[in-house]
Amino acid sequence: MDDIIIIKDLIFKYDERFIFNRFNLNIRKGSFTSIIGPNGCGKSTLVKIILGLIKTDSYLNIDQLILGNDNIKDIRKRIGVVFENPDNQFVAETVMDDIAFSLENMKFKKQDIRDRIEKYTKYLGIFDLLEREPHRLSGGEKQLVALASALIIEPKILILDEALTMVDTELKEKTYKLLQELHQNHNITIINVTHDLEDSLYGEDIVVIDQGQVVLKGPKELVLKEEKILSNIGLDLPFMASLSLKLKYYDLVDDLILDMDEMVDVLWK
């Protein structure tokens, strides 16, 4: 399968300190990849580099375009991004205007904008918020509005940078399931940047970054077995992975079981 993002020998320094020193990463086209790492490992810097918000001389290929001044606008049209604190992203006085902002900039017709707003806000269950002021919403509502703003451009790549941290657990699960659906039905590549391994269960692949290097990379079922490496860099295993590995040690299960219903059925056959 093609790679939609190729990063080769990335070098980036901040205050004379290397954040990335010859960092390499490929992201499969159409994959749902979680990028995990402790605070300060360079995850958010990486997102900003991919978006061209932080400039480097290194080679980044995004959807067959080489990142540089000439095509930065084209690249950004293909990427929807949601940052952790949506307050920093809001520009308008109502949710409706805020979500419409990017499409207006892309010179979409008014009716098309209205149709897409209706589609995505209904999809995310926030249609009722359209007339509200973004700054008056709760943290979780703000994050869903920011997600709608990212989805509305129908990007090829959706990058979530700690984007659902304030959404409550049940709604978060529902939102992740909607994203899985979008990913499967429309072949969107999703990159979920998070410090919480629990959230990686919704994706397929996991990339673990520490001190500017890829420490582990692969399907979640393999990466989550590396308890020692993960705990050495301060990452707690998701509850089900931790439970599985401990039960495996006592010969109660044979392998990693990430689904709770399946686990109960296996234990009490």
């Binding site: 205050d15 790492g37 402790p38 605070n39 300060g40 952790e84 604190n85 007339e131 509200r132 002021e133 008056r136 919403l137 709760s138 943290g139 979780g140 509502e141 869903l144 700690e162 941290t165 304030m166 959404v167 409550d168 657990t169 049940e170 709604l171 699960e173 410090h195 301060g234 990452l235 707690d236 509850f239 089900m240 931790s242 439970l243 401990k246 039960l247 006592y250 109660l252 709770m260 219903d261 686990m263 109960v264 059925d265 234990l267 009490w268």
Partner: protein, 283 residues
Amino acid sequence: MEIKFDSVYYTYNQRTPLNKKVLNNLNVEFKKDKVNGIIGKSGSGKTTMIELINALLVPTSGKVSINKFINKNGKKIKDVNKLRRQVGLVFQFPEEQFFNKTVKKELLFGIKYLNYQTKNSDKRCSDALKMVGLDDSYLDRNPFTLSSGEKRKVAIASILIFNPKVIILDEPTIGLDSISKNNLIKLIKMLKNKYHKTIIIVSHDVDMLHQICDYIYVINNGEVVMEGTKYEVFSNPDELTKYGIKCPKIMEFSNKVLAKKNIKIGYRDDIMDLIKDVYRHVK
């Protein structure tokens, strides 16, 4: 220190077309010297509640009693700075409010702003940092260059400098990795056990609340709909689902075994204890 809500209503943008009722006859009394957890769906009124305790908002009707301070409509609290020194509020993303060049200046800002009279402010700064596990070497550091966990600790220290009786934390673990989160959990437990603070935490991180809270209050549509010890509240998965809340994973597992297999394995705080229970039941 008593913190009590009596028939509190709160409406944003009152008397405008954008009005939104957030609190709806809310009655609750938080437990003194305990860790009290508030959970509820996004928009259920959690943050509004804590802003009322700190008198950043005034109820539309009803009253909030914070010891002898009464926050009610039409009656202005005389010494609101005194209330805010006694009830320290740490906002969501507190580190985004930093603007001083050193940690020391950041810590002293509150003292100046809330007109706090103290003879030995240097010692206050050191003591506050010590409480959050940071030493004096941080005093001259630039707060913007600290890690997220350290920033969060400095933000909490800037509240502890007043030695408040009550500490309110709004989504304190957001954005923190496991190490910083576990450190924060230890810090909150110590503030309760060693310094006997009353702590109120607003969060949707049910796994964290399960680890540190003594009491849990579930808010839905501006009302308290469930309250009790964490075991009382989290052993009711069906009712919690009605309010859009999931159980902590470790209790969800016990609840699932009971629901699917009709086997009571009981509730545990530690995963190793749960493994022992499972082993006993399965083998």
